[in-house]
Symmetry: C2
Subunit: 239 residues, 2 copies
Amino acid sequence: MNLQTIKVACSNCNLRELCLPVGLSRDEVERLDQVVANRRKVKKGDALFHTGEAFTSLYAIRTGFFKTCLTTDDGREQITGFQMAGEIMGLDGISTERHNCDAIALEDAEVCVMPFGVVEELSREITGLQRHVHKIMSREIVRENSIMMLLGNMRAEERLAAFLLNLLQRQQARGFSGTEMVLRMSREDIGVYLGLKLETVSRTFSKFVDDGHIEVKQRHIKVVNLESLSALMKQPECH
Amino acid sequence: MNLQTIKVACSNCNLRELCLPVGLSRDEVERLDQVVANRRKVKKGDALFHTGEAFTSLYAIRTGFFKTCLTTDDGREQITGFQMAGEIMGLDGISTERHNCDAIALEDAEVCVMPFGVVEELSREITGLQRHVHKIMSREIVRENSIMMLLGNMRAEERLAAFLLNLLQRQQARGFSGTEMVLRMSREDIGVYLGLKLETVSRTFSKFVDDGHIEVKQRHIKVVNLESLSALMKQPECH
DNA sequence: CGACACCTTGAAGAGGTTCAAGAAATGTGG
DNA sequence: CCACATTTCTTGAACCTCTTCAAGGTGTCG
């Protein structure tokens, strides 16, 4: 294709530690380069894939930010996750060989396209890769478990606190601040993800500011008191 | 060990179609028998595994009924699923190599113990098994997605209707009635699963009886009007 | 600079929770 | 096998959190 295509290589990707090739030998990582067929750019607002489309590949995010969401026949929406650099999308498509959600870019993004057939083939030969694929899928199951806990048991303040802390922690793992960030999604998206209405999200942000947990300037969030914010998740008004 | 051990064999298990060996040749299914190290009985109320225990094996349910649940430090509980014959438990343990939930038998049960190392080894050789393991994990991700939708968007009646229909459908896939069943779990368990209080579950059951959707005698449920029950899930009081 | 999307805030309302009491079923030990 | 204890389920009434409806403010992008 173009010059971009040539540079494709896990072996010199700075997201190595967050993406597929963890714990592999130098040799194995180089073989892994075969997995990435090519890269694909997705513009803000566009879909990487849609529900119902044939599943062929997994996608690793190189840059950008995505949401994955389900919609029911009667139009209700549920965001199942927000994905950032180094994270894998498309796992839900394996079961039926059709994608089961929409993946929408919340900012201009670039992903590595990994044809699943190749992933499977190579993970038969590289046991470290096989194990890693299993772990990634299992981690997704565990992540969703904790969201079930959030949606089933937590009140609005706890949900939003958990959400903010999770984003900050993932951002920190990527070398950015652990106390400050720019949200890529709207209040409405946050609400859809957390099972709340956007007004509730907005009100809860305001309350967090009043209570001195955070500072908010539009989508810019700064944690002022990390302890008190964390404490919100753990103490549900004991009675 | 005992006679039980000798009979262990996927090749003559009547749950074959629901469990691991789908789409394998006769030959491959026989090799699969190696996967099942042994069987294990679990008494009603006992745990197959606990959160934090080292993960070694997946478990396929031969008989009985389980719940898997998470508990937070402050004692709140979330049931992440109910599992019946032919279903696989333990997938959440792969990621950290420790179990991430408790698996509790809701009636006397027997499971096939499948050491995960053996599963991985064999799925490197049998591509049909590899693919099947991937599909099982993906299916679990999809299942949890739909529970997120349920917890994030549905009201009590819709949740309970979806829950009942799901159980009936799975029971039907196992050759039992698609309109009648005996619930293995308490109202409280249903509530914890659906993100509702047990009183709400009980009230909603009563309402379903009043509205002529079902008949309830304790844990025995009989669907009188399948259409109207299904319709509850789809029409959220349009306004 | 104006249109549009996004966010905030208030007030009223609804769905589900909490607290409480009693009924029905289940299990246990004498 | 029955009596009693225990668990499970049902139902009512008051309450609370979040939602709904509504209006106005703020920021952004062509």
